[in-house]
Amino acid sequence: MPSPGDPYDVAVLGAGPAGLAAAVTAAEQGLTVALLDAAQQPGGQYYRHPAPAARATRPDALHHDWRVFAGLRERLDAAEGVTRLYGHHVWSMTREAPGSPWSLHALTGEGDDDDASAPGTGTTVQARAMLLATGSHERHLPFPGWTLPGVVSAGGAQAMLKSGLALPGTRVVVAGSGPLLLAAATSLAAAGADVPEVIEASGYLGYARHPAALAANPGKLTEAARHGAALLRHRVRPRTRSAVTEAHGADRVEAVTVSRLGRDWRPVPGSERRVACDALAVGHGLVPRTELATTLGCATRRAADGTYALELGPLQETSLRGLWAAGETSGVGGAQAALVEGELAALAITARLTGRRPAPARRLRALRRRRDHLRAFADAMAAAHAPGPGWTRWLGDDTEVCRCEEVTAARVREAVADYGARDPRSVKLLTRAGMGWCQGRVCGTAVACLAAAAPDATPAPPDRRLLATPVPLGTLASLTPADPPPAAPDDPSEGHPS
């Protein structure tokens, strides 16, 4: 641990697969590490598990590579020099000038308090190098009825099951797009839910267009086969090129309409059928959580599925010197890629801070090769599951696009057609869509698609946001003058030399 007042060598933000691998590696290389996460325990999304109080004797039952996590946790416990700061929700990352230490401003506690009048408990952590391993959040495409209770996000169902040991219903349809659907369907079925169908908007044939990416990642084929076998065992029927285009029910979901999809995800008229269920788990892929970096002007790249990830150098460094990224912040690629990138980034940071050569060249080369293979697979996956622009045809006029502010598709379309809005920001000003509690995380993709004048126009790059999480005003006010205020959203400089 650094002496009080001294910055840590490195702050790792996020204790998922990427952050854990990085923190353990950096500590084993002799660095002092602050490992921060909003959650109360490590694991991130992939290794999410029940709280210790649940005294689960078989936490591995919902995980097929629990041993990897258990191994990382043991190394973390054995490592000297890692300060674990769980329950720390970081809302801003700043530095006074390039080369000076990073400051991470965090809210502590359960981090669930949105009451702006409540006294906030804020703290600041400083570090010479910074690794952003904040993962992703889910992408959503609205459809009529998606705000009914019982309609939940696919990753949310997975998270509530893995940590809360809870199911949203007894008969759960899983729908949307992307590999997360298969993971969610198999774990929901294993935990006792009846999962009649898993409904994928794309086909899986898209992967076949990338034979090299497949051949270089035999593990991914095994993973697919394992999911396939589990679906068969639980009698879950996979349907491709189909989507849930409506959820029905009065006060909770009772059935869904499934439509076949034609070109560009356009629903095929006349193909509708009704499937009874008491819950629907739905999601359309993942979006990297990069706002802490993009606010500082960090460069991004557009992935094949239309999401924006941080643009990185060969050793995981972002366009801002001293800021590295690993895991889904560098592109949605799954837990294996996150583990490899976390380790690689930690070795690169060690080399920069100590001036030593990082580790045997062989280890570095092997990690880079594995990272490149997994990234190639991730790119193939992103291309295979990219939403087709025809999805907007399943929106009704009164479908709520923004769940927080209850803004309908008709109002967003009106802002676009009659008031000339062409980007999410103008739609927000005209309709309040994206202005609510979730800060546009849930409706962002949908609003961007509707705002793009032509249905196939490129969605606008990610919004720069001032704060990565809602912050009680008291906490902002209590920042001492020594804490530089967060950079303004449109300020290209990195923090204020106050």
Binding site: A38, Q45, P50, A51, P52, A53, A54, R55, A56, T57, R58, P59, A61, L62, E110, G111, D112, D113, D114, D115, H137, E138, T147, P149, G150, V151, V152, S153, G155, G156, A157, Q158, A159, M160, L161, S163, G164, L165, A166, L167, P168, G169, T170, A190, A191, G192, D251, R252, A279, R403, C404, E405, E406, G436, W437, C438, R441, V442
Partner: protein, 106 residues
């Protein structure tokens, strides 16, 4: 397979059988140690615990990870608590949050 002999998530991971109780709109709800309020409500078959500010429509947990804020509930008199993040404690009084959750408009 009948309802009674369905596997449950808690069986699957071998979690403790211990439970405690809190109330939701006056009704007794069981929770396992460490479970969030949202997870305990789901297990009790309750999916909605908020009415929206505009159309007073029912909502409950959606993202499950603290991002969407759909799951806001009033806990022990304090509104706007994300039920998916707050651990249920014995004797908690959870009530449906109506609108912004404050008695007076702000």
């Amino acid at each position: 397979m009948g309802q009674a002999d369905r596997t449950t998530p808690a069986d699957l991971v071998g979690a403790t059988d211990a439970t405690h109780f809190f109330t939701f709109d006056g009704r007794r709800v069981a929770a396992r140690p460490g479970q969030s309020i949202a997870a305990a409500l789901w297990t009790a078959g309750i999916l909605a615990w908020r009415e929206t500010r505009g159309a007073a429509r029912p909502r409950g947990a959606f993202c499950g990870i603290g991002q969407c804020h759909d799951c806001l509930a009033t806990v022990n008199g304090r509104p706007n608590r994300r039920a998916c993040l707050v651990t249920a404690r014995p004797g908690d009084e959870v009530t449906t949050q109506k609108g912004h959750g404050h008695a007076e408009p702000r």
